[in-house]
């Protein structure tokens, strides 16, 4: 299945400056593996040393958080969009 992975602005520097990348995958885990094998620098920003998705990075399939689906085993279908949504903090300094 060809799915589109949306890369957020803070991580584009580690993904060839692209805002989205098409990968072939049947699950979210496969899609993220395909992504990090293509862009190795992304790996440490997405996963902790034990291989778990970092707590300040959420992943969505279309508009649904994978934590409320089947986590990284969530199936993806042709044309689905996977969004990587890290926490960002910009605004005013208080």
């Amino acid at each position: 299945m060809s799915v589109k992975v949306m890369i957020p602005t803070p991580l584009r520097a580690y993904a060839g400056k692209k805002d989205s990348i098409e990968v072939k995958a049947g699950t979210v885990a496969e899609a993220l593996t395909a992504l990090t094998s293509q862009f190795g620098d992304l790996k440490k920003h997405l996963f902790s040393d034990d291989g778990r998705l970092r707590s300040f990075v959420n992943v969505y399939v279309n508009d649904e958080d994978i934590r409320y689906l089947q986590k990284d085993q969530t199936a993806v279908r042709e044309g689905d969009t996977i969004s990587i949504v890290p926490s960002i903090a910009g605004g005013a300094r208080v």
Binding site: A13, R54, S55, V85, G90, G91, A92, V94
Partner: protein, 399 residues
């Protein structure tokens, strides 16, 4: 609805309670709200009685404060410890050039009082901490988060959950914004979305900071719209929905947010039951952290100047980004930190190398990396090109 007409002063004389009528002047001022059925007199009186706290009077707080004051929000609190500097003026439209050097909350209060003299502005010229947050928040109905760093955002969230107040959230990075309403009854909080702040060092590199000046204008204005909707109780609040905005693509997207039963602060068995201060660290706000890597060899700008003047053969390595090099440079060889691993072969380890960046943080990492790669004669320029400008050549612009 019948309205009793009186001047604001007469209304204030009636007692400490918020006036429940609008003066003739206010009716004229708010007429474009009053003639709309969704607001009307009932909504405008709710706005008049509303108490909103803006945490941060920077890029997000500027449009937010302006629109809330213009709309007639009866009491607006402003929290900020910072003073206006000239780099703020690119996006913080509350301030003018004459405000540079003034405390932000005072300059903001002056501007908002000029915009709307009938409302009350409270100023808190202080850093928000676990010790003062609950006390500052308690008098307000709605808290709007316009801060720029993770520790304060977790503090604002936790205080809102503990006090049961809605938190109108907006954050920005470069061209991208995120907006939602946390802490609404039954809705998710920030920790449902992200249970913990990212550890220092893993937030994307400081070199990637910066923000399109108009972006906080758009995001802060959306926060103002959500705040006014909460006040008048109309429309669908942005609860359980995360709005993502990309100004480059000019696209809005919406993701579902769910209340997490295991949330550490608003879940069924909360583990966060009082406020926590997280340590400050380099957030995604375009600023560099103080150099953590202090154990690398350093050279001061003055010593570097003396050695260059003496004609010593020093190789200057600039590890900033190409667009920073265009702002100012020391005629160094440019290899951005992110490319150093793949381009180290361009460097001659037999020569003495001085690495620099803007403030000395990235180049300290570069020095450490090159030391591990076997480079022995390498120094970090202490304080970066900023210190060079301060101590050696003031004609080099600072940014």
């Amino acid at each position: 609805m019948a309205t009793k007409i009186g001047t604001p002063a007469e209304q204030l004389a009636q007692g400490a309670a918020a006036p429940v009528t609008l003066s003739k002047e206010e009716i004229l001022r708010y007429s474009r709200h009053l003639i709309m059925p969704e607001v009307g007199m009932e909504g405008q009186l709710k706005i008049r009685q509303a108490k909103v706290l803006c945490v941060g009077t920077g890029g997000l707080g500027a449009p937010l404060g302006l629109y809330l004051a213009a709309a007639g929000v009866g009491r607006i609190g402003l929290v900020d410890f910072d003073v206006v500097d000239s780099t703020n003026l690119q996006r913080q439209v509350l301030f003018g050039t004459a405000d540079v050097g003034k405390p932000k909350v005072l300059a903001a209060a002056n501007r908002l009082r000029d915009l709307n003299p009938d409302i009350r502005i409270d100023t808190f010229e202080t850093e928000l901490t676990s010790a003062n947050a609950l006390e500052i928040f308690k008098d307000y109905d709605i808290i709007v988060d316009g801060t720029d760093n993770f520790p304060t955002r977790y503090l604002v969230n936790d205080a809102c959950v503990l006090l049961g107040k809605p938190n109108v959230y907006g954050s920005i990075f470069r061209f991208e914004g995120q907006i939602t309403v946390f802490g609404y009854p039954g809705g998710p909080c920030y920790r449902c979305l992200y249970p913990e702040p990212p550890p220092p060092g893993l937030v994307p590199s400081c070199a990637e900071g910066g923000v399109l000046g108009v972006l906080p204008g758009i995001v802060g204005t959306i926060q103002a719209a959500e705040t006014l909707k909460l006040i008048i109780g109309k429309g669908d609040p942005l609860v359980g929905r995360l709005l993502l905005f990309d100004a480059l693509a000019m696209k809005f997207r919406e993701l579902k947010l769910r209340k997490d039963p295991g949330c550490p602060v608003c879940g069924e068995n909360p583990t966060v039951t009082k406020l926590i201060d997280y340590v400050q660290f380099c957030g995604i706000r375009g600023e560099e952290a103080p150099v953590i890597t202090t154990n690398v060899p350093e050279i001061t700008p003055k010593d570097l100047k003396a050695r260059l003047d003496r004609g010593d053969d020093l190789f200057i390595l600039d590890v900033r980004e190409p667009h920073e090099y265009q702002i100012c440079n020391l005629h160094g060889h440019l290899i951005p930190l992110g490319e150093l691993a793949s381009r180290a072969s361009e460097l001659d380890s037999s020569r003495e190398i001085v690495a620099h960046c803007r403030s000395g943080a990235r180049s300290a990492n570069a020095v450490q990396f090159l030391q591990k790669a076997g480079f022995k004669k390498i120094w970090n320029l202490k304080g970066g090109i900023l210190a060079w400008s301060d101590e050696v050549d003031p004609s080099v612009p600072k940014y």
